[in-house]
């Protein structure tokens, strides 16, 4: 198992209180598998990624959780720092913003390749190979460019090339396809699979079309797990009312709204907007085959 994750409680310190951001979200990820984390804004997806990477903001703490990477607990900044960019690789949301504007694509790639121990002429050769592998027909043209000379799509491909300059065992991609059209999304996901066939991949997205391209999907709402299972079945036949609402909001399903239906909060984060909620609701775990969902009503 590459990753065994249990969030425990991730809370943020506010001026006069603490707010729970993620509550007992747990999953594991095997080599070569892809897991999509989906949910609305504020559902805790990015906090989960940050907690794995040890990059939680200073006012946010993780209590009672555990992150096992290849069976070893990821504790201490030194262990994490030695793994980041080498075996534990992050692909950001916005390639253009992520790249250092004062450095060329070459300098970015050299830095990552030096971490792998490459020196001299091997640096340029490998950097060009990596750019060619992510679909640049003439890598020699791109390698000397600064980020502002790249389009959004090109910058996103450079970030994949950078990620490919590693021995990635676990890849975390945070909303990697935001703002791309459908064809570009499909190409991006295919490229990820092609470049990292052995790595475990955690894809954070709010895009159902991207989740469909992953093997497994975990649906989050308000920091809690709502439903989990093989993507094809989960997205075709959702069981939790929240997943049903997400699917119903797609354009092809008529963009159905999920308005607030009741004033009071309930046992489930979706309670106020849930069309199926009742006072007797219990977010107990249900299971059928590989599918799991946390709702007593469905």
């Amino acid at each position: 198992m590459v990753l065994e994750y249990d969030s425990g409680q991730i809370t943020a310190g506010l001026a006069r209180s603490r707010r729970t951001l993620v509550d007992r979200a747990a999953f594991s990820l095997e080599e070569g598998r892809t897991l999509a984390l989906i949910g609305e804004t504020g559902s805790g997806k990015t906090m989960i990624a940050m907690s794995i990477l040890g990059l939680l903001p200073s006012n946010v703490t993780m209590e009672g959780g555990q992150v096992l990477f290849l069976g070893q607990e990821l504790t201490g900044r030194r262990t994490l720092r030695s793994l980041l960019g080498v075996e534990l690789v992050y692909i950001p949301q916005n390639g253009l913003e992520f790249l250092d504007p004062s450095r060329t694509v070459r300098r970015h790639l050299y830095d990552s390749l030096k971490k792998l121990g490459l020196r001299g002429k091997a640096l340029e050769r490998t950097a060009l190979e990596k750019l060619a592998a992510v679909g640049f027909p003439d890598p020699g043209q791109v390698i000397g460019k600064y980020p502002f000379q790249l389009s959004g799509g090109m910058a996103q491909r450079v970030t994949i090339a950078l990620a490919a300059c590693s021995r990635a065992r676990l890849l975390i991609a945070d909303e990697p396809t935001n703002g791309l059209d459908h064809q570009a999304k499909v190409r991006f996901m295919a490229l990820l699979e092609e470049q990292f066939p052995e790595a475990a991949k955690l894809v954070i997205t709010h895009d159902i079309a991207v989740a469909k391209l992953c093997q497994t999907t975990l649906v989050l709402c308000g920091g809690r797990m709502m439903e989990r299972g093989p993507s094809a079945a989960l997205l075709a036949r959702p069981r939790h009312p929240y997943t049903k609402a997400l699917i119903g909001a797609l354009v092809e399903n008529g963009m159905q709204e999920t308005p607030v239906l009741r004033p009071q909060n309930g046992p489930c984060p979706f309670f106020r907007r849930c069309p199926e909620a009742a006072p007797s609701c219990v977010p107990a775990r249900q299971q059928a085959g590989d599918a799991q969902w946390w709702c007593s009503r469905s």
Binding site: G42, G152, D181, H182, V251, M255, E257, T258, V260
Partner: protein
């Protein structure tokens, strides 16, 4: 209601718009789609007075609001408002949300005093489905969906005749997108306004719009109108 005639715009040697003409009637949702970088946002910026066209002119209710030779008529053009792709783009990060509203209201003299300004903000918050508590937050303390609703509320402050959504929902999750679109339709169409939806999402445009314009592959013109 709004008519653009023979609009053209170039940036250096790159011709982005050429001979673009279109019409948006009252109460209509009009869509414009095309690939990224093809000139959709340039057109929106001309309508809002952010860019001046090199050729052509724009009319609102038969009155000229901008052309290659004349300055943008702000007092008329304020009835055209735009919501941007980045939810936080129209929010000042160092300013509480309510202070951003007060600033707009004061500058455009939309309310005679603070109490009435606050009342107006309250009505708008209700209209976009947010609680009044949220206006005391800083932008980084609210979600992307909430920030986009605030941006819409700021546009509605001017009771616009045309609201332009420039990829305004492409950064939002599906359920927030559906809720935001529904609220824009309610807020604009109920008062006889129109919506210009600019997107690279063909399905979204086809689902929502009464009339659709497509940018052709030469990046030059709006060439096609498809009746739904």
């Amino acid at each position: 209601m709004i008519r653009g005639e023979h609009l053209g715009k170039a940036f250096g040697s790159c011709q982005v718009l050429e001979d673009v003409s279109f019409q948006i009637a009252q109460g209509q949702i009009v869509g414009v789609y095309g690939a990224s970088g093809i000139g959709k946002s340039t057109l929106a910026k001309i309508l809002c007075g952010v860019l001046r066209p090199d050729t052509g002119q724009v009319y609102l209710d038969g009155e000229l609001i901008c052309s290659a030779r004349t300055k943008y008529r702000r007092e008329k053009g304020i009835q055209i408002q735009m919501v941007y792709q980045q939810p936080y783009a129209s929010l000042d990060h160092s300013q509480k949300i309510i202070d951003g509203f007060y600033e707009l209201i004061r500058y455009h003299r939309l309310a005679p005093n603070k109490a009435l300004a606050r009342e107006r903000i309250g009505t708008l918050m209700e209209e976009v489905g947010l609680s009044m508590e949220i206006v005391n937050h800083l932008p980084h303390q609210i979600s992307g969906g909430e920030a986009q609703r605030i941006a819409i509320a700021k546009c509605l402050l001017f009771a616009p005749r045309l609201l332009i959504l420039d990829e305004a929902t492409s950064m939002l999750d599906v359920s927030t997108q559906a809720n935001v679109i529904a609220l824009v339709k309610r807020a604009m169409l109920s008062r006889g306004g129109s919506i210009l939806l600019i997107s690279h999402d063909k399905e979204l445009v086809e689902h929502l719009c009464d009339q659709i314009y497509v940018f052709d592959d030469k990046k030059l013109r709006i060439k096609e109108r498809i009746e739904p």
